[in-house]
Symmetry: C2
Subunit: 411 residues, 2 copies
């Protein structure tokens, strides 16, 4: 049995010329242009690129461009930051110009863009704390309305609320969102923010996202879904700075969270290529180091673990997206968590993922049509270019189907 | 400041004779007869006593009687078993006669009785498994209707549902309740069983009960309360076979679960007087030993830890009940978890709790009335007998109040 049959579709499709004659017995070059599956990565560098360009910093812009070209060779799904502290550092001055430029730049290059996150207790604007809880809640809903509306059509996937399990108990520092979550409760707050986002963009995919994969998150989801909260997909974080979860935990998490029948997005994945963070630390943020080197053995291990993890996730029918959190080393926590080193050179993990996405999980072949011009093809779901002699056509391969396609001279 | 002021009430009450004259300047003996606080314990032995009597086994009946006399000297709140597997071992033959006899026997002796539990995946009737999930659910509601109605007025406190956090994920063995919980979800099942119990006895105190005291239980409670489930008190299990929680964990649990503003019952408390169970075991039921001896050092430790724990809990205003799970050693898991040894001799823990309940947390004194016959008294909430010369009266001391009381000759 093919463990990836759910990722594929089959067609029997008649290829004809513009004059209606079939392309009989013709060798057709089948080339996969894009994937239905969301192969994602943090795309924060596209903001850096826009900043550099806006400041005419050519050298920096070029550096980011090199990096982004490598990014685009691998991924079709990018996460852009909407942390309230950064996006609206000064009340009333949202950083819309650069963010929108970055989102559009990605979209023009075939990338699906996700905004992260709309409601979170961390990286939350400090200026909110001068307000009463009623006001904070009102401002939270206003912000959701503003962002979801402003980016509609450019960003239609949102991490609506982040880390709700710990939200009211979060005690590292006072912040506006923990205050209102403690006051209203997790369920009332989550329901309100989801409903606001849904009202502003009814077709958007709205995510809840958490690093807590215990039964607590299950129960939260169960209660929210019972209460009719419009959760479109379940986000699971998997920052593995303290070591690879391994297949057993991955299967166990997949089993528990697939029970809801909703799409699952592995929203924030990290596997590092250096020494592991000590296991006794509970909060990853408690490990602050000046330098955290990538090592040759670590890089081999990272590539191997990423391959194993992505393979398990790709085999699970409900997983619709996997996002590598850091594209390059030295970002969050200075960890060697990237697929590129800080100088933009490619690590083995980059090549490992390239092989998976664009070789193992792509369909590229030459297939002969039969005497009636029928092309029989099974391939990974996505968009294809078919070429036969000087004729071309696009094929959307998302479900099994039959039909007819006109091949045109596009030269 | 008095850390126990919430446990006390004050009266200024005029004591008069039947002819209306005040008992001026009279020394009044104040004796606390019972407590408002629920000092609880498993009362399963009262069933053993009824069985022995019903079988005319005098020796066994006498043994249980000795045990129960010691029980009654200490406690005013008893838990009776309603495990479905035991209560209705054969479908349609509930063990109502003995259970009701035991409940009445306790009630006649001033004991408030609780039934435990109405819905639980463990100790669940095997015959249920022949039915479809719809049928199991219907039978579950029927059972609740039957028991809650049959015992109304005798048992008005129920553990309605037990261990919901793990219920759908429970995988030690197949059982009917895990099946329906997995099928319906925790929220729908819990809501249904609570509503059924409430409909049958609207004034009953209905409890949810769990050994899981993590954020998962918090979230479950939050969602259930948001959904309007009539939870009357939060039950917390504290089986400490692997060692005393200590004050830090106790305070932390109290803080998190007091957020709901509901009464908290420490429903199942265990502290053992022998070697501790190995810490690596996750499920207490995985530690099966033939003999688990009580030791002199262990008995001293148990008494000390019980004193510390009860003191912390009694100081918290929302804690309304504490139940010691095993009255005698050698019951659940054969653990040395009792206040009596198996031969009914008293352990230091028995005396430690006696001292707390009936000396430190009881009010017994001789108080002089003033020239107008007014008795000024502050005491632990409960029922009192006042005696002056050959005159007596009962005083209900539950809230601060003033008033007048007629002292009568009861000899």
């Amino acid at each position: 049995m093919d463990s990836l049959s759910h990722r594929k579709a089959a067609v029997k499709i008649r290829l004809i010329r513009e004059d209606g004659t079939p392309l009989s017995g013709c060798p057709v070059t089948v080339k996969q242009l894009s994937h239905q599956f969301l192969f994602g990565c943090g795309a924060f560098d596209s903001m850096g690129y826009q900043f550099a360009k806006s400041k005419n910093d050519d050298q920096k812009a070029e550096f980011f461009q090199t990096r982004l070209e490598k990014w685009l060779k691998l991924f079709n799904f990018g996460t852009l930051p909407f942390y309230w502290a950064g996006y609206e550092h000064v009340q009333g001055q949202p950083q819309e110009a650069v963010t929108k430029a970055a989102a559009k730049w990605l979209k023009e290059r075939g990338v699906t863009v996700k905004g992260h996150p709309l409601c979170w207790h961390s990286a939350c604007a400090n200026w909110l704390m001068q307000y009463s809880n009623e006001e904070i809640f009102r401002l939270q809903l206003e912000r959701i309305r503003r962002e979801v509306s402003a980016y509609k059509g450019i960003i239609d996937i949102w991490d609506v609320i982040n880390e709700v399990v710990i939200m009211p108990n979060f005690n590292k520092y006072d912040n506006a969102i923990t205050r209102i979550c403690r006051d209203m409760g997790r369920f009332k707050l989550a329901k309100a923010v989801f409903e606001e986002a849904k009202a502003c963009n009814p077709n958007a995919v709205l995510l809840i996202n958490d690093f807590n994969t215990s039964v607590a998150y299950e129960i939260l989801l169960e209660g929210l879904l019972d209460a009719g909260v419009p959760i479109g997909a379940i986000g699971i974080q998997s920052h593995q700075h303290q070591g690879f979860w391994g297949p057993e935990k991955l299967h166990e998490v997949l089993e528990r969270f697939s029970r809801f029948g909703l799409p699952i997005h592995f929203n924030e994945n990290t596997l590092i290529s250096g020494d592991l963070m000590p296991a006794h630390l509970e909060d990853l943020n408690d490990f602050q180091v000046d330098s955290w080197p990538s090592t040759p053995e670590g890089e081999e291990r990272q590539a191997k673990e990423l391959t194993e993890m992505y393979t398990i996730l790709f085999e699970h029918p409900l997983v619709k997206a996997i996002t590598t959190w850091d594209f390059t080393d030295g970002a969050w926590l200075h960890a060697p968590s990237g697929l590129l080193r800080e100088d933009n050179t490619e690590k083995p993990s980059y090549h490992a993922l390239y092989k998976l996405f664009h070789e193992d999980w792509s369909t590229n072949a030459t297939v002969q049509t039969d005497e009636n011009g029928i092309l029989s093809l099974e391939g990974f779901k996505g968009t294809y270019e078919l070429t036969c002699e000087n004729l071309k056509a696009r094929l959307e391969l998302h479900v099994d189907h039959t039909g007819q396609l006109i091949m045109k001279n596009e030269s």
